[in-house]
Amino acid sequence: MTLLSVENLKKYYYSGVFNKKEIRAVDGVDLEIKSGRTLGLVGGSGCGKTTVARTILRLVKPTDGSIVFDGRDITKLKGRQMKNLGREMQIIFQNPETSLNPRMKMYDAILEPLRIHKLCSADEENEKIHRLIEIVNLNKELLFRYPHELSGGQLQRVVIARILSLNPKFIVADEATSMLDPLVQAQILNLMKDLQEKLGISYLFISHDMDVVEWMSDEIAVMDKGKIVDWK
């Protein structure tokens, strides 16, 4: 079953006031991601991988094209529906050290999504958070620390835990492991695969590391200059 299908996605940026220059970050991309599967997206720096991810998540407005998620067009969602979309699709960023507010303790960081979406009452929080850190295998002593006191791998687990609290169907991993050392990278990748098997999450896995992408993905799309140039 198709979870996400992207058709003719375009994102152009404009620069200059008088002499308008058009930068075609994404120029007509078609993608399809099946439920419970992983699509790998590879390509060199600046080829538009991250812009594709950000556009799919509606963090930036697409210039043209349609994004159909779970049977509905999310290209023009607004307000309440947009907020609910946050519970279904989420993102893991490249740099774990800047992915969390440096002035927020892990406990609050993990509970933040639930609080924003008012999904759990104050007395359930403790129980909920312990279940979450168990899933991502995180020591509960870390809950009352600040981000700079944790390692990259631990931080990425926290990021995954907070995302999981919303039970998303689809997660974009934007170079999620490229800044971790190989051992930790393997642990995080394994965790992501486990979660996929248990919870049926679909991934859009963006990376420039071919080995990692091949190991993670069911299908691989290769991007260059804003277009998909190859499928594997």
Binding site: R54, L85, I91, L100
Partner: protein
Amino acid sequence: MNKLNGKRNILKEAGNNRMAAIGGAIVILLVLIAILASLLSPHDPFEQKLENRLLNPCFEYPFGTDDLGRCIFSRLIFGTRYSLAIGVTVVGITALVGTTLGIVSGYSRGIIDEILMRIVDIVLAFPGIILALVIAGILGPSFLNVVIALSLTHWPAYTRLVRGITLSLREKEFIEGAKALRASNIYIMRRHILPNCINPIIVLATLDIAHAIIFATGLSFLGLGIQPPTPEWGSMLKAGIPYFRISPHLTFFPGTAIMVTVMAFNFLGDGLRDMIDPKINEIILVSE
């Protein structure tokens, strides 16, 4: 440094930083003096004894008496209240308003940012003291009007500082992450951007108290601030000028009080700035 130690002890670090320690100690002392003014002062600051006019410092009057026979020491002690009150009120108002505008400006960008920054440019284009003089002159001399005049001239520093920090923060991944969680803009500004601006704001505010006190005493020195007979340092300074050659203590002691207070806040602010983050130095210097 804080990465290695984990938790940091601000008090201990302040103790190691001699400038911050000296400044902090004097500031605490000044606050105590202001609170306990009526207990500490040996005389009524308003009581005139013409037979005792222009006395040199002596046992009865530690700093001497002024042209109306009032105790300068007592007047200085009460004057602490006015200077600190103006400094704290002005900085409280400007930090609040300036920070809010700075966050909104940097976060929203676009037309709102453009308009706000042009207003900031306009205010900063005037030399602060001249603008304050004009406003105080139009409104007339009183405590409230001094606060208004100084607030109107001091807020842009915060707006610029906070806008700069906000601009760099909004590119950080945790802000994008919060957007992906579909947090509201107000939530992001309040919970994610504001807490990360607090340290530099505290530094700027501490330095700004000194600045505000100088401006306030300057205004009353020129007769546009708090009016005599209120024991305000600037107006005391002014009142002493005609007697400068026969009784220099009339101007010496209020001048010293202003200098010590301003220096204390400057030391504390500089010390805090060094402690918090060397990088912040540049931002604050640029924004001033």
